[in-house]
Amino acid sequence: MRHLLTPLDLSVEELETLMDNAEKIKADPEKYAHVCDGKIIATLFYEPSTRTRLSFEAAMLRLGGKTMGFATADSSSAAKGESVADTIRIISCFADIAAMRHPKEGSATVAAKHSRIPVINAGDGGHQHPTQTLTDMMTIRALKGHFDGMTIGLCGDLKFGRTVHSLIRALLRYKDVRFILISPDELKLPDYMTDEIKRNGAEYEEITKLEDAMPRLDILYMTRVQRERFFNEEDYVRLKDYYILDMPKMELAKEDMIVLHPLPRVNEIAVEVDEDPRAKYFEQVQYGMYIRMALICMLLDISL
């Protein structure tokens, strides 16, 4: 039995197979509409994340399975002080697979240790959120065809942004990927991440002006500056609107560049950009559901 706790739990080959399967499902959803008949996914959300939860539930429902679970901690036994270990032991009796979101870092690792069913980490605090990384990888591959030789701009909160760290790690397993790291000084990528880029022999550049990067990018990955990562409101207010992607900036970019964002966005992408064909962040959500469908099948040993 396998779990998905971090994006690197999957080898490059497994990731490629997973993305192939997601493409197959996307091309002919009818064919896979009953492969999970009789199966149940438990969505255990100790903190609300409606989009992620619905993505998992939609994925299971579209495979013919059913869903159960809770959407906030106060409706669950966690509110009564039950441990993660006990909760997952009990859920193991009811469901075939679980997706868990929990505010504490490492919670999914604890769940996996005590579980009799596959556990998918649907976000453990600021630590890991592997299905977001799978979604990002799937979207890039589907829209650009490959990863090798790509120049990707990562913009915004590179210090606390776990989706950025995970995406970098996943991309470092491919050839000649170049990173342009665009952030204010206060939100630069941590040393241990730039060390990792160097160790892998990949090229990177750190800049503060988004305009300077635009003409060179194949992919622009925008992120939101999250209030909960800041200790004081003043810093947050100063940095939250540091980058705003708008049409004048889009005009500097290549014709075939794509813009991604893990969503929800606040102000960092102007609404006017939504109409640009290069804005792919809503399509990204769709890919997220297909890759979760493929993932559920893989963890339930259902061959596609």
């Binding site: 441990s83 993660v84 505010p103 504490k104 870092e105 490492g106 919670s107 690792t109 604890v110 605090g125």
Partner: protein, 152 residues
């Protein structure tokens, strides 16, 4: 008799032990912590801690001598706390073994994760486990949240 030899003669020391172990070459100042982390304060046996002893190699060092049955000690904790220390295992008044210390790959319940966002801060009955992720830089990270030991 030269002054040095004289000083040698009057150096603070503790008599030889019959069965137990001597941890020598501990970095000065770490001896008391090691004493606590090894749980020696809870053992019903004689322990001598010498701090700031003079050392040719180290300038100053700490030494711990413990008289106890020799199956009762924990090389892993010593290795984690100070892997350049040395250990003599003594039985019948003789040194029978000088085990080599190394940084353990994992340590369980020796140190606690101090990250307030870590699952270990709320989950009952969960061991605090740290994993050696970079032997060169001696970096340990929490098995759960991956926070570096000493970073928080």
């Amino acid at each position: 008799m030269s002054g040095n030899e004289n000083r040698e003669k009057y150096k603070l020391n503790v008599g030889k032990i019959y069965e137990g172990f001597v941890i020598d070459h501990i970095h000065a100042g770490r001896g008391m912590k090691l004493y606590k982390d090894l749980g020696l304060e809870k053992l019903d046996c004689s322990v001598a801690i010498i701090t700031n002893a003079s050392s040719k190699k180290m300038g100053k060092k700490d030494i711990i001598k413990v008289e106890c049955p020799i199956d009762r000690f924990d090389l892993e904790t010593i290795g984690f706390m100070d892997h350049t220390a040395t250990v003599d295992v003594i039985k019948d008044g003789e040194i029978i073994n000088k085990p080599k210390l190394s940084l353990p790959k994992t340590v369980k319940n020796i140190i606690k994760c101090k990250n307030p966002r870590c699952i270990t801060s709320i989950e009952q009955g969960l061991d605090h486990i740290f994993v050696l992720t970079d032997p060169e830089k001696e970096v340990y990270r929490c098995k759960y949240c991956e926070t570096k030991y000493g970073e928080q």
